[in-house]
């Protein structure tokens, strides 16, 4: 049968599992008020931030780890994790960033040297290693347009009014267990503010790298698109190959005001662990956007290939009239990976519109779950939703599950849901092979075809990266 070669074809090796050889300053494991005071001090934060963090810790301590998702894992020992790790000698000019870090980023395909970026599309990068942002490029050029692009730690110090106004406004401090944990211990992440009427002149991006051992990464990102503005933001991530699980619990909040638009793309490639389930990142992430004003638009596009466990539901609150929310997702689970991912579309404003396109690919022992909620409030006259959830199974040991939830209080609301589960059939594979295409190339061709609708939403250079990554994840041909 065709399956013989398939497992081999889909157990791609993880290409980014190297470790950056740098000295790291790490907080001792454990979570307490002292830990938080330590983090806050490291970040030179104002008193009000420390108070908010401590409040979050108190709330978190009253909560319990959720296990409702279709994910099988043993509870995390939060006292064994170190909550702060930073490359030593953190300095702020490019010349002084540890060359080993620059080199590592080059290896990841990201240049932190503005001069070195070739002609073409400029991409501003915030580079985060473990708990700190080591470098943010093009900040000055962006400043000329009034765009603020900096690490969240800087924003807390330099733009306290914006941070106070918007942080916790979309994802409340104690929204859920992992969000509460993040609110207490978050270290670095990106802050973006696009002023009224400005179209951000370049792609913005953040690249998260976990490097230190026995640490978690808890980043927090806050993006505000003021009236009539537009921004395209991309995040990427990776981590070294290690036998222990590492926790990544992030929070992302997006605020989109009247007539503004945020396009948020993620290529998630955390270390997935091995085929027995040893090692890999536990990825528990809360991402939410609010279309605050009329005609606001938000679009989440995610390509999830990494992590041992993914628990993530980028959501849209469509509050402004005529606002639009979109969710495009490709989630791949191979080896022993498990993903429970999807979205929530909350329709509040009139004539709000949402689109959900979810593509799950499971191979080997991978388990892939789509979980999504479409909620149409009574106020959301004329709301419309279109959902399409497709699963592709490669081989016979993997699984795909779909849990669509619908709550509609507006009887006029239009909700369409389509779901399919297909297997890469022997007939499809054979057809391509009969035309002289190798089995590996045939699998990759079918998978790319399946993901097309989502990849077409990514900015060009990221689409190329996503395709290459998918190939690597599913094809075992190390590049």
């Amino acid at each position: 049968m065709a399956n013989e070669g398939l497992d081999k074809a889909v157990s791609g090796e993880y290409a980014l599992g190297f470790e950056i050889d740098i000295e790291t300053e790490t907080a001792p494991p454990g979570l307490s008020e002292e830990t938080i005071a330590f983090i806050s001090k490291k970040k030179e934060e104002p008193e009000w931030m420390l108070e908010l963090r401590l409040k979050a810790l108190k709330k978190w301590e009253t909560m319990t780890e959720p296990h409702w998702a279709k994910l099988d894992y043993t509870s995390i020992d939060y006292q064994s994790i170190s909550y702060f790790a930073a490359p030593k000698e953190q300095l702020d000019s490019l010349d002084e960033v540890d060359p080993k870090i620059l080199e590592a980023y080059e290896k990841l395909g990201i240049s932190l040297d503005e001069q070195k970026q070739l002609a073409g599309v400029k991409v501003a990068v915030d580079a985060v290693v473990d708990s700190v942002s080591v470098k943010t490029t093009y900040s000055e050029e962006l400043e000329k347009h009034g765009v603020i692009f900096c690490s969240i730690s800087e924003a807390i110090r330099d733009y306290p009014e914006l941070v106070k106004k918007y942080m916790f406004s979309v994802v409340p401090m104690a929204d859920n267990y992992f969000a509460a944990l993040n609110s207490a211990v978050f270290t670095d992440g990106t802050f973006v503010y696009i002023p009224k009427g400005v179209r951000c002149p370049m792609e913005l991006s953040t690249y998260f790298r976990i490097n230190a051992i026995n640490t978690g990464q808890f980043e927090r990102t806050l993006i505000i698109a003021d009236e009539g503005s537009h921004v395209s933001y991309n995040e990427g991530c990776s981590a070294p190959t290690r036998d222990e699980h590492q926790l990544h619990a992030a929070v992302v909040e997006l605020i989109i005001l009247k007539d503004a638009e945020i396009k948020y793309s993620t290529i998630q490639n955390w270390y997935p662990g091995d085929e027995t389930g040893k090692g890999g990142i536990y990825n528990f992430v809360t991402k939410r956007a609010i279309c605050e004003g009329d005609n606001a638009k938000v679009s989440w596009t995610q390509v999830e290939t990494g992590s041992a466990i993914t628990w993530k539901y980028p959501s849209c609150i469509l509050k402004g009239d005529n606002s639009v929310g979109e969710f495009y997702s490709v989630a791949v689970t191979t080896l022993a990976q498990q993903a429970d991912t999807g979205t929530k579309m909350i329709h509040i404003g009139k004539n709000t519109k949402s689109t959900i396109i979810s593509k799950g690919i499971s191979a080997m022992k991978g388990q892939n779950t789509y979980r999504g909620l479409v909620k149409i409030n009574a106020s959301a006259e004329g709301a419309r939703n279109y959902s399409e959830c497709d699963s592709l199974l490669i081989g016979s040991e993997c699984g795909a599950h779909t849990f669509p939830y619908l709550e509609s209080k507006d009887t006029q609301g239009q909700v369409e849901h389509e779901a399919t589960t297909s297997k890469i059939s022997d007939e499809q594979l054979f057809y391509l092979r009969q035309r002289g295409i190798t089995e590996e190339d045939a699998v990759s061709m079918i998978v790319h075809g399946f993901c097309k609708q989502v990849f077409s939403q990514l900015p060009m250079e990221y689409a190329v990266e996503a395709k290459a990554l998918l190939e690597l994840t599913l094809e075992g041909s190390v590049g």
Partner: protein, 250 residues
């Protein structure tokens, strides 16, 4: 006579069912061989066996192509060596652009033959004439592979692939099923264009209709997993009149 493919005593089963029972067949290079026979005779299994389909388990015998046994070759190797099957029911592959697929297949073949790969522009130029001849709209190649194609469009697309890949042994499995008269004419034109005295055809068909368009040199009657008769084209009218039951074994 020069033999391009020799099928010797082939025995094959699908699942637990024995379908080919010591079948013998020799294909003469450059000729058109028609395989005819009633439903369940093993016609499609024969074509699947030649191209190495997963469904088929070969339990005995051998197939040699240009003097080499192909029985242990991967399907893609057989394809690259020049064996082509026009599928009876071409499968749909969503999201895979038809032109991209065709170019990938062609370049795999060219690479195998040590030739340079064609770029997109060169490839499109090559396609243009073929599309016109087959009466295919140019948007057919920018659509997803076979997705939402009508029966006739799928068969035209098979012939398009044949024209582009220029195989040496061409198996046409029920190529005429589901074709209206115009489509049949265009598909036949495509096939006849490939008849250059070097390429060999194996036309598998239930009805004789297609043989009015593609003139066969030999008729092989397949029954219960064996070739029971081989004759010239004069057998066709006889079959039409008397059916397969009237055939006496050679």
């Amino acid at each position: 006579m020069s033999t391009v493919m020799k099928i010797e005593n082939i025995e094959a089963k699908i699942g637990e069912k024995k379908i080919l029972k010591g079948l013998n067949l020799e294909l003469e290079a450059g000729k058109v061989h028609a395989i005819m026979g009633p439903n369940g005779a093993g016609k499609s299994t024969l074509s699947k066996t030649i191209v190495g389909h997963y469904d088929v388990e070969v339990t005995g015998g051998d197939i040699t192509y240009k003097g080499k046994s192909i029985i242990d070759m991967d399907p893609e190797e057989r394809a690259l060596e020049g064996i082509f099957l026009s599928f009876q029911h071409p499968v749909e592959i969503p999201g895979v652009n038809n032109a991209y697929f065709l170019r990938t297949a062609l370049n795999a073949k060219r690479k195998h033959e040590g030739k340079e790969e064609l770029n997109a522009a060169e490839f499109l130029r090559l396609m243009k004439g073929h599309l016109e001849m087959l009466g295919m709209k140019s948007d057919m190649i920018s659509r997803s592979l076979n997705e939402g194609f009508s029966g006739g469009e799928k068969k035209r697309n098979e012939i398009l692939q044949m024209l582009i890949l220029e195989p040496e042994v061409i198996i046409l499995d029920e190529i005429d099923s589901g074709l209206d008269i115009d489509a049949l004419r265009q598909v036949s034109e495509g096939i006849n264009k490939m008849k250059d005295g070097k390429r060999t055809f194996l036309v598998i068909t239930h009805y004789s209709r297609i043989l009015d368009y593609i003139e066969p040199d030999y008729i092989h009657v397949l029954k219960d997993g064996e070739v029971i008769k081989t004759a010239g084209p004069e057998l066709v009218p006889y079959l039409e009149e008397h059916g397969y039951d009237g055939i006496k074994e050679d």
